[in-house]
Symmetry: C2
Amino acid sequence: MSDALKIGIAGLGTVGASLVRILQDRHEMLATTCGRAIEIMAVTARDRSRDRGVNLANIKWFDDAVSLASGADIDVFIELVGGAGDPAYSAVKAALQRGIHVVTANKALLAAHGIELAGIAEEHGALLNYEAAVAGGIPVIKALRESMTGNTVSRVYGIMNGTCNYILTKMEKEGLSFEDCLKEAQRLGYAEADPAFDIEGNDTAHKLSILTSLAFGTAIAADDIYLEGITNISIEDIQAAADLGYRIKLLGVAQRTESGIEQRVHPTMVPYDSVIAQVDGVTNAVAIESDILGELLMVGPGAGGNATASAVLGDVADIAKSRPGAQHVPAFGRPATALLPYKRARIQSHEGGYFIRLKVLDRTGVFANIARHMAENDISLESIMQHSKHYVDSAEPKTIILVTHATHEASVRKAIVAIKGEGYLVGEPQVIRIERPKAG
Amino acid sequence: MSDALKIGIAGLGTVGASLVRILQDRHEMLATTCGRAIEIMAVTARDRSRDRGVNLANIKWFDDAVSLASGADIDVFIELVGGAGDPAYSAVKAALQRGIHVVTANKALLAAHGIELAGIAEEHGALLNYEAAVAGGIPVIKALRESMTGNTVSRVYGIMNGTCNYILTKMEKEGLSFEDCLKEAQRLGYAEADPAFDIEGNDTAHKLSILTSLAFGTAIAADDIYLEGITNISIEDIQAAADLGYRIKLLGVAQRTESGIEQRVHPTMVPYDSVIAQVDGVTNAVAIESDILGELLMVGPGAGGNATASAVLGDVADIAKSRPGAQHVPAFGRPATALLPYKRARIQSHEGGYFIRLKVLDRTGVFANIARHMAENDISLESIMQHSKHYVDSAEPKTIILVTHATHEASVRKAIVAIKGEGYLVGEPQVIRIERPKAG
């Protein structure tokens, strides 16, 4: 058996503590599998005195992540500090510049500095592994970076935020409002006290930007993502979706188009009998469509201390199984210098089906008028119907629901502006994009 | 860039031809990703003269797989010949004994000789990769062997035969008989002229035996699998399942129990709103339940020239990215000598829910009598109902459907024997096991 693999861990929150526990409890089993022992040599965390339920005796304590990354006698630096900036950024950089492999769960760091860090890693013969950064325990990075080598990816999409999926699932199953479900998610620890980062879609966008780079071999462009959160989704939308044979999910979608790459995060209607529609609660799912393999969908836990620690451990084990400096695995699939520039496709050129919900005054000819505006913008309709659960007074506004065949976003926007000009709309129209799996 | 990786391919059927085409068409792209070129040095196939639509000029032709594996100047031997015996077996062995890495799609070979071959590979510092052997394009081998390192798996199960899943899906969706759907599958090329190997469950059993070894770190025991095919499933079962909120799938299941490991392949009822229930047609799916990661489900193409070639290519690329002799990746997760003996749990001790369909003569007290036999065998019932779509003459036999709570197989068998003794049964009872995902 070879020399032990020496690791240092920065950050001992839920994931870090879980990782330490697993490495200690399964020391023998891991040594058998990896062909050598994995030894924790150094750790650091904000609070040294906190009881984390793990034994840190005989492990060197460093004052901060950067000094650990720069000074510890280690083969692998595990960054579980979080955040796009320092100390995570400087610590990872310092480790890579010493030729030390890095394993990180930090999506924000990679979204902001991933390509720069990948370049430094390659220059110094170090690996940069980050399975835990996207969709927690789901091995989507490995699938894209290793299993699908040689494939040309056409689309990657997924449910990558457990908070949003929990809220949308609960709204549907229990008929509760967005606000009530958010409160319940907060009570259960599925949502932060300040939930904006999750429910506005930013968290999904960070993860999507990493998948886009891996899938299409392009530089990361995390700021160039069309973003809509789920705060605007009402129980009425969810019920109408169900009536039409759809469920609403917050998807991150990256797609190769003729004009460039579309990156978008928005509430999306998916066909009820598609596999991804059945992914409920905090569970995540990622689908990859490519030209040789076809369609691959992976479903699993997207967060949680253990699931994330498992992904980190898989990354560490890959390094343990290879001999130092013996692998060529560019962080984003191809060498950082060979990544293509990211060319954005504007959301206006997006092509797909749309669900449109309009509240209108009950006037003669409104139906026909809406249909005419659609036709004038070359939008072909799959259905148009008045939607109401109860008999309502004819003086009340009526709800009209349209489902379009594939059309352009620009056309939909133009049609809506024209309809707004007619004066019969009450409030803002709701527009939800429809996404269909390639097959099934 | 390092020296090219030299490969030899034995077998130029659909998968082999597809692989050659991809390696030639994407030569540059693969070299960029892998850090070195992949060059086809040698090939062999039964018929040299056949036009496969690929350019084999400048590639050395060998008369047979064994002479290629023994004599070609290659780093990797790709075995696409198929079959548990020769020439596949001798060719793979010859390559490994020369220290040449092997990539194979051959589930029958691995089911029969996997552990022996893994031992030879380790002895000679060679890798034995076989992603394509189980569930085609789904990277389940990589997930178990690499991503889930350190996890203790409790259950692995899946839809691993496209022929069976196509037939069961078509029976349900179109209300057609097993025989009609089998004919249609044969017409479309989804089933062989002699379909026994698929529809009797043997193909699934081969794949399951490989997953069992990887998941539980045990020796392969392909002959020790409880086996029931789908030939016995009627449209009446499928409709009753639907009425009860289930769908019927042919699952391969391997499960850790107190008395050993259960390996079983049989038609199975899965809850309609579970993700795996929505996996239709020839698509495959594999679920893995483990203690750290949690539940992982992967859905994708289980067969087809391109999907299989993609999995083979992923295995080859992994070797290309590592430096010769630089990796320690035991074929079945742990060194062949460290694999645990397989201890079988008998099917009689299986614990789970059961669907039981009985055709009975319409006599007074039959219902009560059946319920009494269940109670006497400690079987707790979830439901018992008379099932018929139409009003039928009371002289006709009636169908009674029972769904049990979790119970033991032995109890169910005893109860059925007792009921058979009562004399009111018409024909054979139908018994279908129920399998529930851990969550959702």
